[in-house]
């Protein structure tokens, strides 16, 4: 039996091994935190961070699909997050009476957030993915800003007559007694009913991993990576390059929307300014630091970089400065040949020493398979 399992693991491709490792880490972390929580070891400030950590892990993993796997720089990930966030809040508020139980309502809200963000992903992706390289990056940035600008001008309310949408609070003409403001322009969504829990965050992370890793392991995923590695060769073997880039882009947008919905439903108010360019960059830092294309890396760096600023509060002024330096150094370290040779020489020795002599250095624990 044991030997059978061993053989099975041996026959897995490296991608499969990495995905098993990713699931194992997330499940293990969830179990440990839950145990610590019941024992009362989890501080209030950490507890408050649990849902955001899950949200940022999902965002980092989904952005990695575009940046690492598909090889296009997207600077507007927070835009999709915000679309999902406000769509989720609207869905949750509308269903407040009809779906009373929190969990299914949260589920529907997240789903709605994902679908709306996915649709936005299609609408934005079709024009954007005709461009390449730097141009593509700058246009995703532009779209991110446009989304935020437009959200700043949207007012949505609900009363007996149903949903109302307008470009100012006065024009909304909401019933002053029964009317409920859902989206209040630059103030954003207020009076949100908090539905998000750590468990729901954990499930979202698992779902994100499931979709992204399965996509990478499928024929579409291979085509996406092939397109990244060599566009001309990919076309020469009959792959419709734009379609595959779009697949990655839309999947990523939908997952970001779901994460956004969970994020918004964790607070009582959320303003559009929360989803600005800085947030997009923050997620990009997670991806770059974890290693582009490396899903496990994204999980770890998103988790650590979300906890760390809280833990090192006295250094909070230097936090963004340090992120900036880290971003530059990581890029230099991974892309400059002399730098890389230097690192291989010294750090390589340590990692080689730490690795077991057996094959498959990134072999996961057997028990967790």
């Amino acid at each position: 039996m044991k030997k059978n399992l061993k053989n099975k693991l041996k026959n897995m491709t490296s991608y499969r091994k990495k995905s098993v490792l990713a699931y194992s880490i997330v499940i293990l972390a969830f179990i440990i935190i839950t145990i610590f929580d019941t024992l009362g070891f989890v501080t209030n400030s950490l507890y408050g961070q649990l849902v955001p950590i899950c949200v940022y892990i999902s965002l980092a993993v989904s952005l990695n699909l575009v940046v690492g796997i598909s090889g296009e720089l997207s600077l507007g990930h927070a835009g999709f997050m915000s679309i999902g966030a406000f769509a989720g809040v609207i869905a949750s508020t509308v269903l407040q009476e009809s779906v009373v139980v929190a969990m299914p309502r949260l589920f529907i809200a997240i789903l709605v957030g994902g679908i709306i963000a996915g649709i936005a992903g299609v609408l934005i992706g079709i024009p954007v993915l005709r461009l390449r390289g730097d141009y593509l990056a700058i246009v995703t940035l532009a779209f991110g800003e446009i989304i935020r600008n437009v959200l700043n001008c949207i007012y949505i309310g609900m009363d007996e007559a149903g949903l109302r949408i307008a470009t100012s609070a006065e024009k909304l003409g909401l019933d002053p007694i029964n009317g409920k403001m859902i989206l209040n322009g630059p103030m954003g969504a207020t009076g949100i009913q908090k539905l998000a829990t750590f468990t729901s965050g954990f499930i979202l992370v698992l779902f994100t991993l499931f979709i992204v890793q399965n996509l990478i392991n499928s024929k579409q995923g291979r085509a996406i990576m092939a397109t990244r590695d060599n566009r001309i060769a990919a076309e020469s073997i009959g792959l419709n390059v734009t379609n595959f880039k779009l697949t990655a882009f839309v999947t990523s947008a939908a997952l970001a929307g779901m994460a956004g919905a969970l994020f918004a439903l964790n607070y009582s108010t959320v303003a559009p300014v929360k989803f600005n360019f800085n947030t997009s960059i923050l997620i990009l830092v997670f991806v770059v630091l974890g290693g582009m294309g490396n899903i496990v890396g994204s999980i770890i760096s998103a988790a650590i970089l979300t906890i760390l600023p809280e833990a090192l509060r006295e250094f909070s002024d230097y936090r963004m400065l340090i992120y900036a330096i880290v971003l530059i150094l990581v890029m230099l370290a991974t892309n400059n040949l002399t730098f890389r040779a230097f690192i291989d020489k010294y750090i390589g020795k340590i990692t080689r020493f730490l690795r077991p002599k057996k094959r498959n250095p990134d072999f996961p624990q057997k028990e967790e398979v």
């Binding site: 940046v67 700058i138 446009i146 001309i232 360019f277 971003l327 890029m331 892309n335």
Partner: protein
């Protein structure tokens, strides 16, 4: 008459964009990289000018020169430390590094100068506004001098790239980096020179921008930087007249959008224009088409 007032302030803003866009376009043309941090060099330039007048009591014209000198140095240092080691790396890696540099500058400024906005004293505070049509059309000295500065810079740069030895080697490097090297052109120093010129222009742009819009913060440069890049792309990246046209058009669109549509949506409209231009003409108005060799 209000139309004319908007048009002139649009030209003023557009001229600032054009000067910033020139920096983007030159660096992009020669180093083939999007120097995302360019906008933040503007902010640094404005701060240096601000402190040279307010803390050291330097006259306005001298503060501009100090700012230019500082930014030139800054530009060369950034290029040496962050971008030069990445020559030959993928454009994705270079762009992410540039974003890192941009973030570094913003946050270093935040630590050095604080987050509270400074009120920038205009360079032309002592000059009175120009009145036309019995005072119906008032043009501020800032607008006039910004437009003038833009025209002068554009003419000097055109002359510089066309006639001087350094300018010619810049064009050679932008055309074919490897061939230029074989012809004995020092590619590294040419690229450094480009960064130096671009950064000096950024300092001028910073001072002019803050003369018209006096709030100075660590994030002051970010938005104008992105918009000026938009302008450079609009005009066709790598083209000096393209940057000028792009900057002016974008400035006018922005002011009109603010005046006639909505202040909140003006940025969205500017970016919307960028997207449309790129989709219709992916290399901008005056840009060249690039072929990949198979």
């Amino acid at each position: 008459m209000t139309f004319l007032t908007y048009l002139t302030s649009g030209l003023g803003l557009g001229s600032v964009y054009a000067i910033i866009a020139l920096g983007y376009t030159m660096v992009y043309g020669i180093a083939k990289m999007l120097n995302f941090a360019h906008g933040d060099v503007i902010m640094v330039g404005a701060y240096i000018a601000f402190y040279s007048t307010s803390s050291f009591g330097l006259p306005a014209w001298l503060s501009v020169i100090v700012a230019m000198a500082f930014c030139t140095l800054l530009g060369i240092i950034i290029e040496r430390l962050a971008y030069k080691p990445l020559r030959g790396a993928t454009s994705l890696a270079v762009l992410i590094t540039a974003i890192g540099v941009s973030y570094f500058l913003q946050n270093a400024a935040l630590l050095a100068w604080g987050s509270a906005p400074k009120v920038f004293t205009s360079l032309f505070a002592k000059i009175e506004s120009f009145k036309f049509f019995d005072g119906q059309l008032v043009i501020s000295p800032e607008t006039i001098f910004t437009v003038l500065a833009c025209i002068i810079i554009m003419l000097v740069l055109t002359f510089f790239t066309a006639k001087t030895k350094m300018g010619k080697s810049m064009r050679a490097v932008s055309e074919d980096n490897g061939a230029a090297q074989l012809m004995g052109i020092n590619v590294n120093s040419t690229i450094s020179m480009t960064f130096a010129i671009g950064s000096a222009l950024a300092a001028v742009a910073g001072v002019l921008l803050c003369s018209s819009y006096p709030t100075l913060m660590p994030t002051t440069g970010a938005m104008p930087g992105i918009k000026a890049f938009t302008a450079a792309v609009f005009g066709g990246i790598g083209s000096i007249p393209g940057a000028m046209i792009g900057g002016l058009v974008l400035g006018i669109i922005e002011i009109f959008a603010r005046a006639y549509v909505s202040t909140e949506l003006s940025d969205a409209i500017v970016f919307g224009v960028l997207i449309i231009v790129l989709l219709v003409k992916p290399t901008g108005l005056l840009g060249k088409k690039i072929h990949e060799k198979v």
